[in-house]
């Protein structure tokens, strides 16, 4: 009986000075394979100076339903709230 390879999420640091950014996922049997597959798949054109892979099942994520208590900004500290900064809408990952 075939056993499916686990799903890994992939994060790439595009260049020095930038954060790792989530770029997608892939299937791999083990961590080493995941890293190598990520290199081949997501940095085929030499994008990226560093790659992280992590099993999707090991990620703990907040749920949108928890948004109110979890993400409520302190009302008196507006600078903590992203909308305080005037960022054009078309800028990604903000």
């Amino acid at each position: 009986m075939e056993k499916d390879w686990p799903l890994y999420e992939v994060f790439v640091r595009g260049k020095r000075g930038l954060n790792h950014v989530h770029v997608g996922s892939l299937r791999a049997a083990d961590d080493t394979m995941a890293l190598r597959n990520a290199r081949d798949l997501y940095t085929r054109r030499n994008e990226g100076v560093s790659i992280w892979v992590v099993k999707a099942q090991d990620i703990t994520a907040s749920s949108p339903d928890e948004k109110d208590p979890f993400f409520a900004p302190s009302g008196d500290k507006v600078y903590r709230h992203p909308t305080f900064y005037d960022i054009p809408e078309n800028v990604p990952h903000m």
């Binding site: 056993k3 996922s25 049997a29």
Partner: protein, 319 residues
């Protein structure tokens, strides 16, 4: 976090993200759309892939191999997007090889000469780009992000196709004839890539409302024709449509009636290469099963962290 939030997100032109609540029909539609697109990339490797080992120069061989590799990559980006909706790749692959999910019927036509590599790049990838650029603004975030990556790479594909055709048109009479023959065969199927006319399209209205489709089939088809006509003139090839002409009143090109019965026939599985394409994919999947199992088995042993002593013992047990 339900319908109201979903509707408001769509209204504000914001993205739906994987863990958001979404209507079941939206989820189903997205899975179908993304899976069909992913399958098309993977099946689409075959018609051109057949020419890698025969490419007539090493430079063309490298370009073609890189291009077909990109298509595998595009398939993977898209399966990755589908996984965020809870559809796993093995399940989708099984639906593909059992015929329960479709792929673009353009890939059911055979590639008969090396010129087809150029014409597929120019017309088929060109049509795909027309279809796909608006999808970079799809309301479903992971799909939109995958499409941006894909569109960037597709533009290279179209350019390499056109560049190959320019080289062939500057070449021998036989090369020029090869190009015209190829254009004759791929022009109408390329127009059919935009799907049935708006009047017959079943999914368009809901898809537009959900912002997973931004333009109608006929709008995109018209845009493609208008883009392609001057490119064909620059190349020196004739598009095989006697009714094709500029209409100054409309500001667009008029073109002839598409043979929709042929499209229906090819979609329903009666195209020249349907069975062959699925068979190649099924064989690769089935022949690869023991390899995937082996890697999973080895990984499981590693997790159990056997000592080097255990490894040595295992080696001895084996004759």
């Amino acid at each position: 976090m339900t319908q109201e939030h979903f509707d408001r997100t769509i209204d504000r032109d914001q993205r739906i993200e994987p863990r958001d609540w979404m209507p079941d029909a939206y989820r189903t539609t997205m899975v179908r759309q993304i899976a069909q697109h992913a399958h098309s990339e993977i099946i689409g490797m075959q018609p051109e892939g057949e020419w890698i080992t025969r490419a007539p120069s090493l430079r063309r061989k490298a370009i073609l191999l890189a291009k077909v590799q990109d298509e595998a990559g595009h398939g993977l980006y898209l399966y990755s997007a589908a996984e965020t909706l809870g559809a796993d790749r093995t399940g989708l692959t099984e639906k593909l090889i059992s015929g329960r999910q479709k792929y673009s019927s353009i890939f059911n036509y055979p590639t008969l000469s090396f010129a087809d590599v150029g014409v597929i790049g120019w017309l088929v990838d060109g049509a795909a780009i027309c279809n796909q650029v608006p999808l970079c603004r799809s309301s479903y975030g992971p799909y939109a992000r995958a499409m941006i990556r894909i569109c960037k790479e597709e533009s290279f594909h179209q350019r390499q196709g056109y560049e190959l055709l320019m080289a062939l048109m500057r070449g021998t009479d036989a090369q020029r004839e090869m190009v015209q023959d190829s254009v004759n065969r791929w022009w109408w199927p390329s127009l059919m890539m935009f799907g049935p006319p708006d009047a017959d399209s079943t999914h368009t209205a809901q898809s537009m409302a959900w912002k997973i489709k931004r333009h109608t089939n006929d709008e995109l088809r018209q845009r493609f024709v208008d883009m392609t006509v001057p490119q064909a003139e620059a190349l020196g090839v004739t598009l095989p449509d006697p009714d094709l002409r500029w209409n100054a009143d409309r500001g667009h090109h008029d073109f002839g009636e598409i043979d929709w019965s042929e499209l229906k026939r090819v979609i329903s599985g009666d195209g020249p290469c349907n069975a062959e394409r699925i068979d190649v994919r099924r064989t690769a999947h089935e022949d690869g099963a023991w390899v995937r199992e082996a890697a999973a088995a080895h990984a499981a042993k590693q997790t159990a962290a056997p000592s080097s002593k255990q490894i040595a013992e295992r080696a001895e047990r084996r004759p």
